[in-house]
Protein backbone atom coordinates (compact mmCIF):
# COMPACT_ATOMS: atom_id res chain seq x y z
CA UNK A 1 0.00 0.00 0.00
CA UNK A 2 1.22 3.51 -0.79
CA UNK A 3 2.15 5.69 2.15
CA UNK A 4 0.25 8.64 0.66
CA UNK A 5 -2.88 8.17 -1.41
CA UNK A 6 -5.02 10.93 -2.85
CA UNK A 7 -8.20 10.19 -4.71
CA UNK A 8 -10.21 12.94 -6.38
CA UNK A 9 -9.12 15.38 -3.70
CA UNK A 10 -10.62 18.81 -4.15
CA UNK A 11 -11.00 22.03 -2.24
CA UNK A 12 -12.97 25.09 -3.10
CA UNK A 13 -13.59 28.28 -1.19
CA UNK A 14 -16.30 30.87 -1.37
CA UNK A 15 -14.72 34.26 -1.50
CA UNK A 16 -16.56 37.48 -0.86
CA UNK A 17 -16.09 39.80 -3.80
CA UNK A 18 -15.40 43.18 -2.38
CA UNK A 19 -16.27 46.03 -4.69
CA UNK A 20 -14.32 49.21 -4.87
CA UNK A 21 -15.53 52.36 -3.19
CA UNK A 22 -17.51 53.35 -0.12
CA UNK A 23 -20.96 53.05 -1.66
CA UNK A 24 -20.25 49.57 -2.92
CA UNK A 25 -18.94 48.62 0.51
CA UNK A 26 -22.17 49.78 2.10
CA UNK A 27 -24.15 47.80 -0.44
CA UNK A 28 -21.96 44.85 0.46
CA UNK A 29 -23.36 44.98 3.99
CA UNK A 30 -26.72 43.83 2.66
CA UNK A 31 -26.07 41.94 -0.52
CA UNK A 32 -22.87 40.09 -1.03
CA UNK A 33 -21.46 38.60 -4.14
CA UNK A 34 -19.42 35.48 -3.77
CA UNK A 35 -17.11 33.73 -6.10
CA UNK A 36 -16.07 30.11 -5.93
CA UNK A 37 -12.36 29.55 -5.97
CA UNK A 38 -11.38 26.02 -6.88
CA UNK A 39 -7.96 25.72 -5.34
CA UNK A 40 -7.65 21.98 -5.87
CA UNK A 41 -9.80 20.21 -8.48
CA UNK A 42 -9.68 16.49 -8.13
CA UNK A 43 -6.14 15.31 -7.55
CA UNK A 44 -5.20 11.62 -7.77
CA UNK A 45 -1.75 10.72 -6.56
CA UNK A 46 0.15 7.91 -4.92
CA UNK A 47 3.46 8.28 -3.18
CA UNK A 48 5.49 5.32 -2.01
CA UNK A 49 7.41 5.04 1.23
CA UNK A 50 10.86 6.67 0.91
CA UNK A 51 10.05 8.84 -2.11
CA UNK A 52 11.07 12.48 -2.41
CA UNK A 53 8.45 14.14 -4.60
CA UNK A 54 8.36 17.75 -5.75
CA UNK A 55 5.23 19.77 -6.47
CA UNK A 56 5.84 22.35 -9.14
CA UNK A 57 3.40 24.96 -10.19
CA UNK A 58 2.79 28.68 -10.50
CA UNK A 59 1.54 30.70 -7.56
CA UNK A 60 -2.03 29.81 -6.75
CA UNK A 61 -1.77 26.43 -8.46
CA UNK A 62 -2.94 24.54 -5.38
CA UNK A 63 0.38 23.16 -4.14
CA UNK A 64 0.21 24.62 -0.67
CA UNK A 65 -3.49 23.85 -0.39
CA UNK A 66 -2.71 20.21 -1.16
CA UNK A 67 -0.06 20.11 1.55
CA UNK A 68 -2.46 21.73 3.98
CA UNK A 69 -5.09 19.14 3.18
CA UNK A 70 -2.57 16.36 3.73
CA UNK A 71 -1.55 17.92 7.04
CA UNK A 72 -5.15 18.08 8.17
CA UNK A 73 -5.01 21.84 8.65
CA UNK A 74 -8.02 22.22 6.36
CA UNK A 75 -10.77 19.85 5.27
CA UNK A 76 -11.45 19.06 1.62
CA UNK A 77 -14.66 19.82 -0.28
CA UNK A 78 -14.50 16.41 -1.91
CA UNK A 79 -12.40 13.35 -2.49
CA UNK A 80 -10.32 11.23 -0.20
CA UNK A 81 -6.79 11.07 1.12
CA UNK A 82 -4.87 8.73 3.34
CA UNK A 83 -1.44 9.24 4.76
CA UNK A 84 0.02 6.23 6.56
CA UNK A 85 -3.52 4.90 6.72
CA UNK A 86 -4.92 7.99 8.44
CA UNK A 87 -7.42 10.47 7.11
CA UNK A 88 -5.47 13.69 7.72
CA UNK A 89 -8.35 16.04 8.53
CA UNK A 90 -9.53 13.82 11.34
CA UNK A 91 -6.46 15.14 13.12
CA UNK A 92 -5.84 12.05 15.17
CA UNK A 93 -2.92 12.38 17.55
CA UNK A 94 -1.55 9.07 16.27
CA UNK A 95 -1.23 10.69 12.86
CA UNK A 96 -0.02 14.06 14.07
CA UNK A 97 2.85 12.43 15.94
CA UNK A 98 4.15 10.92 12.69
CA UNK A 99 4.42 13.79 10.24
CA UNK A 100 5.65 17.35 10.11
CA UNK A 101 4.92 20.41 8.01
CA UNK A 102 7.48 23.13 7.46
CA UNK A 103 6.36 26.35 5.85
CA UNK A 104 9.00 28.73 4.57
CA UNK A 105 6.69 31.70 5.01
CA UNK A 106 5.43 31.04 8.51
CA UNK A 107 7.35 30.41 11.66
CA UNK A 108 6.32 28.44 14.67
CA UNK A 109 9.21 29.12 17.03
CA UNK A 110 8.68 31.56 19.89
CA UNK A 111 9.94 34.81 18.49
CA UNK A 112 11.40 36.30 21.65
CA UNK A 113 12.90 33.14 23.10
CA UNK A 114 15.96 31.10 22.20
CA UNK A 115 15.06 28.21 19.89
CA UNK A 116 15.97 25.65 22.52
CA UNK A 117 12.97 26.72 24.61
CA UNK A 118 10.66 25.99 21.68
CA UNK A 119 12.43 22.67 21.18
CA UNK A 120 11.76 21.74 24.78
CA UNK A 121 8.10 22.51 24.26
CA UNK A 122 8.10 20.20 21.25
CA UNK A 123 9.70 17.51 23.34
CA UNK A 124 6.78 17.64 25.73
CA UNK A 125 4.06 17.98 23.14
CA UNK A 126 5.40 15.04 21.14
CA UNK A 127 6.38 13.13 24.30
CA UNK A 128 9.95 12.54 23.19
CA UNK A 129 12.10 10.69 25.73
CA UNK A 130 14.81 13.01 27.16
CA UNK A 131 17.83 11.04 25.87
CA UNK A 132 16.31 10.65 22.43
CA UNK A 133 15.44 14.32 22.39
CA UNK A 134 18.97 15.42 23.25
CA UNK A 135 20.47 13.03 20.71
CA UNK A 136 18.16 14.08 17.85
CA UNK A 137 18.56 17.77 18.64
CA UNK A 138 22.36 17.59 18.70
CA UNK A 139 22.43 15.52 15.55
CA UNK A 140 20.18 17.91 13.62
CA UNK A 141 21.76 21.13 14.82
CA UNK A 142 25.19 19.62 14.19
CA UNK A 143 24.34 18.74 10.61
CA UNK A 144 22.84 22.17 9.98
CA UNK A 145 25.67 23.96 11.76
CA UNK A 146 23.47 25.89 14.19
CA UNK A 147 24.47 24.25 17.46
CA UNK A 148 26.00 27.48 18.73
CA UNK A 149 22.84 29.51 18.09
CA UNK A 150 20.47 27.59 20.31
CA UNK A 151 20.66 30.15 23.09
CA UNK A 152 20.05 33.18 20.91
CA UNK A 153 16.52 34.61 20.73
CA UNK A 154 14.90 33.61 17.45
CA UNK A 155 14.23 37.22 16.48
CA UNK A 156 18.00 37.83 16.40
CA UNK A 157 18.68 35.01 13.94
CA UNK A 158 19.13 35.53 10.21
CA UNK A 159 16.45 34.18 7.88
CA UNK A 160 18.63 31.22 6.92
CA UNK A 161 19.44 30.39 10.52
CA UNK A 162 15.80 30.64 11.46
CA UNK A 163 14.78 28.29 8.66
CA UNK A 164 17.33 25.76 9.89
CA UNK A 165 15.88 26.07 13.39
CA UNK A 166 12.37 25.56 11.97
CA UNK A 167 13.55 22.43 10.22
CA UNK A 168 15.15 21.14 13.39
CA UNK A 169 11.97 21.79 15.36
CA UNK A 170 9.93 19.92 12.75
CA UNK A 171 12.22 16.91 12.76
CA UNK A 172 12.73 16.52 16.51
CA UNK A 173 10.04 13.86 16.72
CA UNK A 174 11.55 11.94 13.79
CA UNK A 175 8.49 12.09 11.51
CA UNK A 176 7.95 9.43 8.86
CA UNK A 177 6.40 11.88 6.44
CA UNK A 178 7.57 15.42 5.91
CA UNK A 179 5.77 18.16 4.00
CA UNK A 180 7.97 21.07 2.97
CA UNK A 181 6.31 24.19 1.62
CA UNK A 182 8.93 26.37 -0.02
CA UNK A 183 11.58 25.74 2.62
CA UNK A 184 14.25 27.78 0.86
CA UNK A 185 12.18 30.82 -0.06
CA UNK A 186 14.12 34.04 0.28
CA UNK A 187 17.37 32.35 1.26
CA UNK A 188 20.76 33.13 -0.25
CA UNK A 189 22.53 30.59 -2.43
CA UNK A 190 24.75 29.28 0.35
CA UNK A 191 21.91 28.73 2.78
CA UNK A 192 19.79 27.16 0.03
CA UNK A 193 22.58 24.77 -0.81
CA UNK A 194 23.12 23.87 2.83
CA UNK A 195 19.45 23.07 3.33
CA UNK A 196 19.36 21.05 0.11
CA UNK A 197 22.38 19.03 1.22
CA UNK A 198 20.83 18.46 4.58
CA UNK A 199 17.48 17.35 3.20
CA UNK A 200 19.14 15.04 0.72
CA UNK A 201 21.27 13.38 3.35
CA UNK A 202 18.49 13.18 5.90
CA UNK A 203 16.01 11.69 3.47
CA UNK A 204 18.41 9.07 2.17
CA UNK A 205 19.70 8.26 5.60
CA UNK A 206 16.32 7.83 7.25
CA UNK A 207 14.29 6.79 4.23
CA UNK A 208 11.44 9.10 5.11
CA UNK A 209 8.85 10.26 2.59
CA UNK A 210 8.99 13.92 1.62
CA UNK A 211 6.68 16.12 -0.42
CA UNK A 212 8.28 19.41 -1.37
CA UNK A 213 6.95 22.52 -3.04
CA UNK A 214 9.46 24.98 -4.32
CA UNK A 215 9.96 27.66 -6.92
CA UNK A 216 13.64 26.96 -7.16
CA UNK A 217 14.39 24.43 -9.88
CA UNK A 218 17.74 23.84 -8.20
CA UNK A 219 15.99 22.47 -5.14
CA UNK A 220 13.93 20.18 -7.24
CA UNK A 221 16.74 19.04 -9.51
CA UNK A 222 19.00 18.34 -6.56
CA UNK A 223 16.47 16.48 -4.46
CA UNK A 224 13.59 14.89 -6.27
CA UNK A 225 13.42 12.08 -8.77
CA UNK A 226 9.72 12.50 -9.25
CA UNK A 227 7.98 15.73 -10.09
CA UNK A 228 4.29 16.50 -10.00
CA UNK A 229 3.31 19.59 -11.94
CA UNK A 230 0.17 21.22 -10.62
CA UNK A 231 -1.54 24.09 -12.34
CA UNK A 232 -5.00 25.47 -11.73
CA UNK A 233 -5.63 22.81 -9.14
CA UNK A 234 -5.02 19.87 -11.43
CA UNK A 235 -2.11 17.54 -11.99
CA UNK A 236 -0.66 18.26 -15.41
CA UNK A 237 2.35 16.01 -15.20
CA UNK A 238 3.59 13.25 -12.95
CA UNK A 239 6.97 11.68 -13.67
CA UNK A 240 10.67 12.36 -13.84
CA UNK A 241 12.06 15.86 -14.13
CA UNK A 242 13.59 15.26 -17.55
CA UNK A 243 10.43 13.62 -18.76
CA UNK A 244 8.76 17.04 -18.60
CA UNK A 245 10.79 18.13 -21.60
CA UNK A 246 9.86 15.05 -23.57
CA UNK A 247 6.20 15.47 -22.78
CA UNK A 248 5.80 19.18 -23.10
CA UNK A 249 8.44 20.53 -25.39
CA UNK A 250 7.79 20.03 -29.08
CA UNK A 251 11.13 21.43 -30.14
CA UNK A 252 14.91 21.22 -29.79
CA UNK A 253 17.42 24.02 -29.78
CA UNK A 254 20.00 23.73 -32.55
CA UNK A 255 23.20 25.76 -32.38
CA UNK A 256 25.11 26.15 -35.62
CA UNK A 257 28.70 27.30 -36.00
CA UNK A 258 29.15 28.47 -39.62
CA UNK A 259 32.35 28.55 -41.60
CA UNK A 260 33.78 32.09 -41.55
CA UNK A 261 32.59 33.20 -44.98
CA UNK A 262 29.17 31.61 -44.76
CA UNK A 263 26.14 33.91 -44.39
CA UNK A 264 23.24 32.75 -42.33
CA UNK A 265 20.68 34.35 -44.63
CA UNK A 266 17.52 32.36 -45.21
CA UNK A 267 17.88 30.32 -42.05
CA UNK A 268 14.42 31.31 -40.83
CA UNK A 269 12.94 28.82 -43.30
CA UNK A 270 14.04 26.03 -40.95
CA UNK A 271 12.81 27.27 -37.62
CA UNK A 272 12.50 30.23 -35.28
CA UNK A 273 15.80 32.02 -34.84
CA UNK A 274 16.60 32.53 -31.19
CA UNK A 275 20.02 34.07 -31.56
CA UNK A 276 21.97 35.32 -34.60
CA UNK A 277 25.56 36.30 -33.89
CA UNK A 278 27.64 35.40 -36.95
CA UNK A 279 29.25 33.04 -37.26
CA UNK A 280 26.94 31.47 -34.68
CA UNK A 281 23.19 31.03 -34.82
CA UNK A 282 20.63 29.34 -32.58
CA UNK A 283 17.24 28.21 -33.74
CA UNK A 284 14.26 26.26 -32.48
CA UNK A 285 13.37 23.32 -34.60
CA UNK A 286 10.29 21.12 -34.47
CA UNK A 287 11.28 17.89 -32.80
CA UNK A 288 9.49 15.78 -35.40
CA UNK A 289 11.28 17.53 -38.24
CA UNK A 290 14.71 17.54 -36.62
CA UNK A 291 16.66 15.09 -38.77
CA UNK A 292 15.08 16.35 -41.97
CA UNK A 293 15.84 19.96 -41.08
CA UNK A 294 19.40 19.22 -40.04
CA UNK A 295 20.10 17.38 -43.24
CA UNK A 296 18.71 20.28 -45.27
CA UNK A 297 20.78 22.84 -43.37
CA UNK A 298 23.97 20.82 -43.71
CA UNK A 299 23.35 20.44 -47.43
CA UNK A 300 22.83 24.17 -48.01
CA UNK A 301 25.29 25.83 -45.61
CA UNK A 302 28.94 25.35 -44.75
CA UNK A 303 28.64 24.39 -41.08
CA UNK A 304 31.64 23.66 -38.86
CA UNK A 305 29.84 22.48 -35.74
CA UNK A 306 26.33 21.53 -34.65
CA UNK A 307 24.93 21.21 -31.12
CA UNK A 308 21.43 19.89 -30.54
CA UNK A 309 19.97 20.52 -27.09
CA UNK A 310 16.74 20.32 -25.18
CA UNK A 311 15.34 23.73 -24.29
CA UNK A 312 16.06 24.83 -20.71
CA UNK A 313 13.75 23.16 -18.20
CA UNK A 314 12.64 26.45 -16.71
CA UNK A 315 11.49 27.60 -20.10
CA UNK A 316 9.50 24.43 -20.73
CA UNK A 317 7.80 24.64 -17.38
CA UNK A 318 7.05 28.34 -17.73
CA UNK A 319 5.44 27.77 -21.11
CA UNK A 320 3.54 24.79 -19.74
CA UNK A 321 2.12 27.00 -16.98
CA UNK A 322 1.19 29.70 -19.44
CA UNK A 323 -0.54 27.17 -21.64
CA UNK A 324 -2.58 25.76 -18.78
CA UNK A 325 -3.41 29.29 -17.74
CA UNK A 326 -4.68 30.09 -21.22
CA UNK A 327 -6.68 26.87 -21.54
CA UNK A 328 -8.45 27.34 -18.24
CA UNK A 329 -9.07 30.99 -19.08
CA UNK A 330 -11.04 29.87 -22.11
CA UNK A 331 -12.79 27.24 -20.01
CA UNK A 332 -13.73 29.81 -17.41
CA UNK A 333 -15.19 32.07 -20.06
CA UNK A 334 -17.30 29.20 -21.31
CA UNK A 335 -18.60 28.53 -17.81
CA UNK A 336 -18.64 32.10 -16.58
CA UNK A 337 -19.11 32.80 -12.90
CA UNK A 338 -16.49 30.33 -11.79
CA UNK A 339 -12.91 31.29 -11.88
CA UNK A 340 -9.80 29.85 -10.46
CA UNK A 341 -7.36 30.96 -7.81
CA UNK A 342 -4.62 33.53 -8.11
CA UNK A 343 -4.18 34.41 -11.75
CA UNK A 344 -0.49 35.01 -11.48
CA UNK A 345 1.59 33.38 -14.16
CA UNK A 346 4.91 33.68 -12.42
CA UNK A 347 6.76 30.53 -13.16
CA UNK A 348 9.80 28.83 -11.80
CA UNK A 349 12.92 30.89 -11.44
Amino acid sequence: MSIIELCGLSKSYRVYQKQEGLLASLRGLFRREYRDVHAVRGIDLRVEQGEFVAFLGPNGAGKTTTLKLLSGVISPSGGEARVMGHVPWKRENAYRRRFALVMGQKNQLWWDLPAQESFRLHQQIYRIAPEQFARTRDELTGMLGIGNLLRQPVRELSLGERMKMELTAALLHSPDVLFLDEPTIGLDVVAQHKIQQFLKYYQQHRQITILLTSHYMKDVAALCRRVVVIAKGRIEYNGSLNGIIDSFSGHKVVTLQFATDQSSAGLERFGQIVEDQPPRAKLRVERSALTRTLAAILAQYAVEDVVVEDPPLEEVIASLFTQVERDSGAEAQAASGTDSADASTAGVA
Partner: protein, 283 residues
Protein backbone atom coordinates in the same frame (compact mmCIF):
# COMPACT_ATOMS: atom_id res chain seq x y z
CA UNK B 1 -0.02 9.75 31.39
CA UNK B 2 -2.07 12.04 29.20
CA UNK B 3 -2.77 14.35 32.13
CA UNK B 4 0.91 14.50 32.98
CA UNK B 5 1.74 15.48 29.42
CA UNK B 6 -0.72 18.36 29.56
CA UNK B 7 0.61 19.48 32.92
CA UNK B 8 4.18 19.43 31.62
CA UNK B 9 3.26 21.36 28.51
CA UNK B 10 1.36 23.88 30.61
CA UNK B 11 4.32 24.34 32.94
CA UNK B 12 6.59 24.89 29.95
CA UNK B 13 4.16 27.47 28.58
CA UNK B 14 4.26 29.16 31.98
CA UNK B 15 8.03 28.97 32.14
CA UNK B 16 8.60 30.24 28.60
CA UNK B 17 6.20 33.11 29.21
CA UNK B 18 8.06 34.06 32.36
CA UNK B 19 11.41 33.95 30.55
CA UNK B 20 9.92 36.15 27.88
CA UNK B 21 8.46 38.59 30.41
CA UNK B 22 11.79 38.78 32.18
CA UNK B 23 13.53 39.64 28.90
CA UNK B 24 11.34 42.72 28.71
CA UNK B 25 11.64 43.62 32.37
CA UNK B 26 10.70 47.28 32.11
CA UNK B 27 7.58 46.42 30.17
CA UNK B 28 6.67 43.78 32.73
CA UNK B 29 6.99 46.22 35.62
CA UNK B 30 5.07 48.94 33.80
CA UNK B 31 2.25 46.56 32.97
CA UNK B 32 2.05 45.40 36.56
CA UNK B 33 1.91 48.98 37.78
CA UNK B 34 -0.70 49.92 35.18
CA UNK B 35 -3.06 47.13 36.12
CA UNK B 36 -2.54 47.84 39.81
CA UNK B 37 -3.35 51.52 39.24
CA UNK B 38 -6.48 50.66 37.31
CA UNK B 39 -7.59 48.46 40.18
CA UNK B 40 -6.79 51.11 42.83
CA UNK B 41 -8.74 53.66 40.80
CA UNK B 42 -11.70 51.32 40.82
CA UNK B 43 -11.42 50.74 44.54
CA UNK B 44 -11.16 54.48 45.16
CA UNK B 45 -14.29 55.08 43.13
CA UNK B 46 -16.34 52.63 45.19
CA UNK B 47 -14.83 53.92 48.44
CA UNK B 48 -16.01 57.36 47.34
CA UNK B 49 -19.53 56.07 46.72
CA UNK B 50 -19.62 54.58 50.19
CA UNK B 51 -18.86 57.99 51.71
CA UNK B 52 -22.34 58.97 50.44
CA UNK B 53 -24.28 55.84 51.39
CA UNK B 54 -23.77 53.03 53.88
CA UNK B 55 -25.07 50.28 51.57
CA UNK B 56 -26.12 49.47 48.03
CA UNK B 57 -29.87 49.02 48.15
CA UNK B 58 -31.84 48.96 51.39
CA UNK B 59 -31.75 45.56 53.13
CA UNK B 60 -29.71 44.06 50.32
CA UNK B 61 -26.91 43.17 52.73
CA UNK B 62 -24.26 44.87 50.59
CA UNK B 63 -22.58 47.28 52.96
CA UNK B 64 -19.14 48.71 52.26
CA UNK B 65 -17.06 45.72 53.34
CA UNK B 66 -19.47 43.13 51.98
CA UNK B 67 -19.17 44.96 48.70
CA UNK B 68 -15.39 45.04 49.02
CA UNK B 69 -15.49 41.24 49.37
CA UNK B 70 -17.47 41.28 46.14
CA UNK B 71 -14.94 43.62 44.58
CA UNK B 72 -11.98 41.48 45.56
CA UNK B 73 -13.75 38.48 44.06
CA UNK B 74 -14.11 40.42 40.83
CA UNK B 75 -10.40 41.13 41.01
CA UNK B 76 -9.55 37.47 41.54
CA UNK B 77 -11.67 36.28 38.67
CA UNK B 78 -10.52 39.01 36.30
CA UNK B 79 -6.86 38.63 37.12
CA UNK B 80 -7.02 34.85 36.58
CA UNK B 81 -8.80 35.32 33.27
CA UNK B 82 -6.27 37.95 32.23
CA UNK B 83 -3.25 35.97 33.36
CA UNK B 84 -4.12 32.72 31.68
CA UNK B 85 -6.54 33.37 28.87
CA UNK B 86 -6.95 36.93 27.70
CA UNK B 87 -3.71 37.35 25.74
CA UNK B 88 -4.26 33.98 24.08
CA UNK B 89 -7.86 34.53 23.11
CA UNK B 90 -6.90 38.01 21.93
CA UNK B 91 -4.35 36.41 19.66
CA UNK B 92 -6.69 33.68 18.49
CA UNK B 93 -8.45 35.83 15.91
CA UNK B 94 -5.04 37.05 14.77
CA UNK B 95 -3.93 33.45 14.34
CA UNK B 96 -7.01 32.80 12.24
CA UNK B 97 -6.40 35.86 10.12
CA UNK B 98 -2.71 35.19 9.49
CA UNK B 99 -2.96 31.42 9.24
CA UNK B 100 -0.78 30.93 12.31
CA UNK B 101 -3.39 28.52 13.62
CA UNK B 102 -1.89 25.94 11.23
CA UNK B 103 0.84 25.08 13.67
CA UNK B 104 -1.51 24.55 16.56
CA UNK B 105 -3.54 22.16 14.41
CA UNK B 106 -0.47 20.10 13.55
CA UNK B 107 0.45 19.28 17.13
CA UNK B 108 -0.57 15.98 18.69
CA UNK B 109 -2.27 17.73 21.57
CA UNK B 110 -5.69 19.26 22.11
CA UNK B 111 -5.94 22.37 19.95
CA UNK B 112 -8.18 24.28 22.35
CA UNK B 113 -5.69 23.64 25.14
CA UNK B 114 -2.77 25.01 23.12
CA UNK B 115 -4.71 28.02 21.86
CA UNK B 116 -6.06 28.90 25.30
CA UNK B 117 -2.94 28.58 27.42
CA UNK B 118 0.12 29.09 25.25
CA UNK B 119 1.05 32.43 26.71
CA UNK B 120 0.69 33.38 30.31
CA UNK B 121 0.62 37.02 31.22
CA UNK B 122 2.32 37.01 34.59
CA UNK B 123 2.02 40.76 35.09
CA UNK B 124 -1.76 40.47 35.43
CA UNK B 125 -1.34 38.29 38.47
CA UNK B 126 -0.47 41.36 40.51
CA UNK B 127 -4.20 42.09 40.84
CA UNK B 128 -4.72 38.66 42.28
CA UNK B 129 -2.49 39.54 45.21
CA UNK B 130 -4.01 42.99 45.53
CA UNK B 131 -7.42 41.31 45.62
CA UNK B 132 -6.20 38.93 48.31
CA UNK B 133 -5.09 41.90 50.42
CA UNK B 134 -8.45 43.61 50.01
CA UNK B 135 -10.31 40.39 50.81
CA UNK B 136 -8.38 39.79 54.02
CA UNK B 137 -8.91 43.36 55.20
CA UNK B 138 -12.63 43.30 54.35
CA UNK B 139 -13.22 39.92 56.03
CA UNK B 140 -11.39 41.14 59.11
CA UNK B 141 -13.54 44.27 59.26
CA UNK B 142 -16.69 42.15 58.88
CA UNK B 143 -15.67 39.66 61.55
CA UNK B 144 -14.84 42.27 64.18
CA UNK B 145 -17.91 44.43 63.71
CA UNK B 146 -20.03 44.52 66.88
CA UNK B 147 -23.35 43.96 65.12
CA UNK B 148 -23.73 40.45 63.61
CA UNK B 149 -20.02 39.61 63.17
CA UNK B 150 -19.03 37.28 60.33
CA UNK B 151 -17.62 33.80 61.00
CA UNK B 152 -15.66 32.37 58.14
CA UNK B 153 -15.45 28.57 58.16
CA UNK B 154 -12.96 26.46 56.17
CA UNK B 155 -15.90 25.05 54.17
CA UNK B 156 -16.87 28.55 53.13
CA UNK B 157 -13.33 29.30 52.01
CA UNK B 158 -13.12 26.03 50.05
CA UNK B 159 -16.50 26.68 48.37
CA UNK B 160 -15.44 30.23 47.69
CA UNK B 161 -12.39 29.10 45.70
CA UNK B 162 -14.30 26.41 43.86
CA UNK B 163 -16.97 28.88 42.76
CA UNK B 164 -14.35 31.43 41.86
CA UNK B 165 -12.81 28.90 39.50
CA UNK B 166 -16.29 28.19 38.11
CA UNK B 167 -16.57 31.91 37.44
CA UNK B 168 -13.23 31.90 35.63
CA UNK B 169 -14.43 28.93 33.56
CA UNK B 170 -17.64 30.71 32.56
CA UNK B 171 -15.85 33.89 31.52
CA UNK B 172 -13.25 31.88 29.63
CA UNK B 173 -15.91 29.87 27.79
CA UNK B 174 -17.70 33.01 26.77
CA UNK B 175 -14.43 34.50 25.60
CA UNK B 176 -13.24 31.58 23.49
CA UNK B 177 -16.72 30.98 22.08
CA UNK B 178 -17.07 34.59 20.93
CA UNK B 179 -13.55 34.66 19.59
CA UNK B 180 -13.96 31.45 17.59
CA UNK B 181 -16.64 33.18 15.53
CA UNK B 182 -13.94 35.05 13.65
CA UNK B 183 -13.34 31.85 11.69
CA UNK B 184 -16.76 32.37 10.11
CA UNK B 185 -16.82 36.15 10.06
CA UNK B 186 -13.45 36.47 8.38
CA UNK B 187 -10.86 39.13 8.45
CA UNK B 188 -10.65 41.37 11.50
CA UNK B 189 -14.23 40.62 12.39
CA UNK B 190 -15.06 38.96 15.63
CA UNK B 191 -17.67 38.97 18.34
CA UNK B 192 -14.86 38.96 20.88
CA UNK B 193 -15.38 42.64 21.75
CA UNK B 194 -18.83 41.76 23.03
CA UNK B 195 -17.14 39.93 25.85
CA UNK B 196 -16.14 43.22 27.42
CA UNK B 197 -19.65 44.66 27.13
CA UNK B 198 -21.32 41.56 28.49
CA UNK B 199 -18.96 40.90 31.37
CA UNK B 200 -19.47 44.47 32.55
CA UNK B 201 -22.77 43.23 33.95
CA UNK B 202 -21.02 40.73 36.20
CA UNK B 203 -19.28 43.44 38.18
CA UNK B 204 -22.23 44.36 40.38
CA UNK B 205 -24.32 42.49 42.94
CA UNK B 206 -27.35 40.99 41.24
CA UNK B 207 -29.72 42.85 43.58
CA UNK B 208 -29.21 46.01 41.57
CA UNK B 209 -30.98 44.39 38.62
CA UNK B 210 -34.51 44.92 39.84
CA UNK B 211 -37.58 46.77 38.61
CA UNK B 212 -38.96 46.94 35.08
CA UNK B 213 -35.57 47.20 33.40
CA UNK B 214 -33.55 45.24 35.86
CA UNK B 215 -35.53 42.02 36.01
CA UNK B 216 -35.25 41.03 32.35
CA UNK B 217 -31.54 41.91 32.44
CA UNK B 218 -31.07 39.77 35.53
CA UNK B 219 -32.86 36.89 33.87
CA UNK B 220 -30.83 37.14 30.65
CA UNK B 221 -27.47 37.43 32.38
CA UNK B 222 -28.24 34.60 34.76
CA UNK B 223 -29.77 32.01 32.50
CA UNK B 224 -28.99 32.91 28.90
CA UNK B 225 -25.47 34.24 29.36
CA UNK B 226 -24.63 33.31 32.94
CA UNK B 227 -22.20 36.11 33.73
CA UNK B 228 -24.11 37.16 36.83
CA UNK B 229 -23.22 34.00 38.73
CA UNK B 230 -19.49 34.51 38.04
CA UNK B 231 -18.78 36.88 40.92
CA UNK B 232 -22.10 36.84 42.73
CA UNK B 233 -22.04 33.22 43.83
CA UNK B 234 -18.55 33.06 45.37
CA UNK B 235 -18.91 36.55 46.85
CA UNK B 236 -22.23 35.64 48.51
CA UNK B 237 -20.70 32.54 50.05
CA UNK B 238 -18.31 34.69 52.04
CA UNK B 239 -20.15 37.95 52.45
CA UNK B 240 -23.81 36.91 52.68
CA UNK B 241 -23.82 33.53 54.38
CA UNK B 242 -26.67 34.17 56.79
CA UNK B 243 -29.19 35.81 54.56
CA UNK B 244 -32.82 34.82 55.16
CA UNK B 245 -33.25 33.94 51.48
CA UNK B 246 -30.47 31.34 51.71
CA UNK B 247 -32.63 28.80 49.88
CA UNK B 248 -32.43 31.12 46.89
CA UNK B 249 -28.67 31.25 47.38
CA UNK B 250 -28.59 27.48 47.47
CA UNK B 251 -30.43 27.04 44.20
CA UNK B 252 -28.27 29.77 42.70
CA UNK B 253 -25.16 27.88 43.80
CA UNK B 254 -26.46 24.66 42.27
CA UNK B 255 -27.30 26.53 39.10
CA UNK B 256 -23.77 27.97 38.97
CA UNK B 257 -22.33 24.46 38.65
CA UNK B 258 -24.76 23.61 35.86
CA UNK B 259 -23.96 26.91 34.13
CA UNK B 260 -20.22 26.22 34.36
CA UNK B 261 -20.48 22.76 32.83
CA UNK B 262 -22.86 23.98 30.14
CA UNK B 263 -20.59 26.94 29.27
CA UNK B 264 -17.51 24.76 28.98
CA UNK B 265 -19.26 22.17 26.83
CA UNK B 266 -20.93 24.82 24.71
CA UNK B 267 -17.73 26.72 24.05
CA UNK B 268 -15.90 23.52 23.19
CA UNK B 269 -18.62 22.65 20.71
CA UNK B 270 -18.38 26.07 19.09
CA UNK B 271 -14.59 25.86 19.03
CA UNK B 272 -14.58 22.50 17.30
CA UNK B 273 -17.25 23.55 14.84
CA UNK B 274 -15.20 26.63 14.05
CA UNK B 275 -12.05 24.61 13.39
CA UNK B 276 -13.94 22.61 10.77
CA UNK B 277 -14.48 25.83 8.87
CA UNK B 278 -10.91 27.03 9.23
CA UNK B 279 -9.46 27.96 5.86
CA UNK B 280 -5.89 28.87 6.69
CA UNK B 281 -4.59 32.08 5.18
CA UNK B 282 -2.52 32.04 2.02
CA UNK B 283 0.92 30.44 2.15
Amino acid sequence: MEGMQYLRVFLTFARNSLIRDMTFRANFILESIASLCWMLGNLGFYALIFTHTPYIGRDSGWGQYEFFVFLSTTMFVNSLVQTFFMANVDEFSELIRTGGLDFALLKPIDTQFVISLRKIDWSSLVNFFAGAGLLVISLHKLSVRPDNPLHVSPTMVALYFIYMLCGVAILYSLMIGLSATSIWLGRNQTLYDFWFYITNFSRYPMEIYSGTWGRPLRWVFTFAVPVLVVVNVPARILAQPLRPNSSLSFSLAAFAIVATVASLLGSRWIFNRALLSYRSASS
